[in-house]
Amino acid sequence: MTAADLSGVEHDAAQRAAAHLVAGLPPAPAVWCSGLRKRYGRQQAVEDVSLEVGRGEIVGLLGPNGAGKTSVIKMLLGLVHPDEGEVMLLGQPAADPAARARVGYLPELFRYQPWLSAAEVLALHVRLSGIGVTAKEQRDCLTLVGLAERAGDRLVGFSKGMQQRLGLAVALVAGPELVVLDEPTSALDPLGRADVRDIVLALKARGVAVLLNSHLIGEVERVCDRVVILDRGRVAASGTLAELLGQRELHLQLSDFSPEAEARLAATGKVERAGDWFTLALPADDDGTAVPDLVRDLAALGARVHAVEPARISLEERLLGILREGAAARSGEAR
């Protein structure tokens, strides 16, 4: 053996060791982006957005109109070029189109070639994805979204809802590991919305990651593991539903209410009063003693306690709270 042979063997061994090491690592997240920025003319649409969607995780993207949700999604998919920032899809840099081989996408503006039939649109996308999908699997995909009967019909006669269902089939057809759904139910009736919910949950069960942008907070709350809230191009809040909604509230109906009792309430958390009803935000680190202690102290301070009702904050209330806080902070800065 020559020295060159020996160094070749060492090189192979090092490569195998490295491959072994990499194989042992958990798979890279389905989506990872950092520091995304985008400006359209004088409008800063996206300002420093970083987010992550783990494998098999369902992440909801929430925020008011113009918050930059669709811009962020388009930057992830290479449809819009970020001014700054990095994107990785399924462990590959998104600058390489091959990173999108296992990515399905339903755009907010869903339009497909009107001169093709539903089955032809699916076949086209399968060809472009470069992934082998049998004709039967393509038919099954149309059946899943409820278009089996219309497979051979040209799209010219399709309603908006049917086109959106087809868009869903296009996003699902090529064996995706990540599905990006931008307002997937905007044109669907309640039955269609329930179908989409079932499809998303089925994807989760199969370990497919989903990034879901939706105005329907109830939809997001039901299916998502984590939520990212965008406001004016920035991430206003993010976390699991438990983290975001972890804060609990207490509704109290009180009479004979003294200033001392009021101070006792305020010491526990933020208080809002409407007549003799008080809404109290409970501390996040409550170990279960806050409520009984409070009721005991209020009674001792002479307040008459008529009702004590625990309440959970809905995602909608939390979202509105975050957005209002942001607006208040901005107007405070302006002053």
């Binding site: 388009k74 990173a99 990515v103 503006l109 001169w115």
Partner: protein
């Protein structure tokens, strides 16, 4: 997925769009009408020359002029057809959102653009070659005239169509579908008129006027290629027998194309396509 497969898939899709959107049918009807009309005209010409009112040289001259005139009609149809097809198929798709789902697939934008362009080239060139060949056969059947270099002539017609649709593709990456069609056809017409003006300048010996034609033929090679095609369609003995009388006539061409001009036309197409690709790659959808 390999780039070649993307290109071919998109090219086939573009051809399918042209046929499904009835562009093919419209062109076929127009072509049939033009062929029938010219067939009738040429048969009248055959009757006239049969009655010995025209010399054989005059008959060949008339056949050449008429053939060039009808071919101009075909190249105009091809120009309008491809220019107005290029707009909707590219900027129309990006405007309507059809391109969003397609370009989110693992494909390069340059491959997508090349596929579109290739489909349009196949469609436009296929049309002018088939229609032109049919016209040559009509002329041969009615007056017995066969052009000296039909293959060259038809290839140059196809090249002219390619030049114009490459321009339309560039325009449609930057402006709206309707505007890109209008601008491309407008420029095509302007260059043709400038070519005619230049030809007149040449026959009058006015260099400044002649230069108008030359400059426009450099800026947009449609007219230069068209003149080359005409030269290959017409009877080569025309200018020796009729000479200066026919100089500057818009439907006859005095000289064949130079290799340098052909090379420039190829370079022009490559450069304009490159610009279109650069503009399309940078576009935010």
């Amino acid at each position: 997925m390999t780039t070649a497969r993307t290109v071919l898939t998109i090219a086939a899709l573009t051809l399918r769009e042209a046929s499904r959107r009835r562009v093919l049918l419209a062109l076929a009807v127009l072509t049939a009408v033009l062929l029938a009309l010219s067939g009738w005209g040429f048969s009248r010409l055959a009757v006239e020359s049969g009655a010995n009112t025209l010399t054989s040289g005059e008959a060949r001259l008339t056949a050449s002029i008429l053939l060039n005139l009808v071919m101009f009609g075909f190249s105009l149809i091809a120009a309008l057809g491809t220019a107005f097809l290029a707009g909707p198929t590219l900027s129309g798709e990006t405007e309507s959102g059809i391109a969003l789902a397609v370009l989110a697939r693992p494909i390069r934008r340059s491959a997508f653009l090349l596929g579109k362009w290739l489909g349009l080239v196949a469609f436009g060139s296929g049309f002018v070659v088939l229609a032109g060949l049919a016209q040559c056969l009509v002329v041969w059947a009615t007056v017995g005239y066969w052009p000296p270099e039909p293959a060259t002539a038809l290839a140059l017609l196809a090249a002219q169509t390619t030049v114009l649709l490459t321009l339309a593709v560039l325009l449609s990456t930057a402006i709206s579908p309707m505007a890109s069609g209008v601008v491309a056809v407008g420029l095509f017409g302007t260059t043709w008129v400038a070519g005619v003006v230049g030809g007149l300048g040449q026959s009058l010996g006015n260099d400044a006027v002649a230069r108008v034609g030359t400059v426009s033929q450099i800026l947009l090679p449609t007219d230069g290629l068209w003149r080359g095609a005409m030269h290959a369609f017409q009877d080569p003995a025309l200018f020796t027998s009729f000479g200066a009388d026919m100089a500057g006539f818009p439907f006859l061409s005095e000289a064949p194309l130079t290799a340098a001009y052909l090379a420039w036309a190829v370079l022009w197409v490559a450069m304009v396509w490159g610009l279109a690709a650069a503009s399309f790659l940078r576009k935010d959808l």
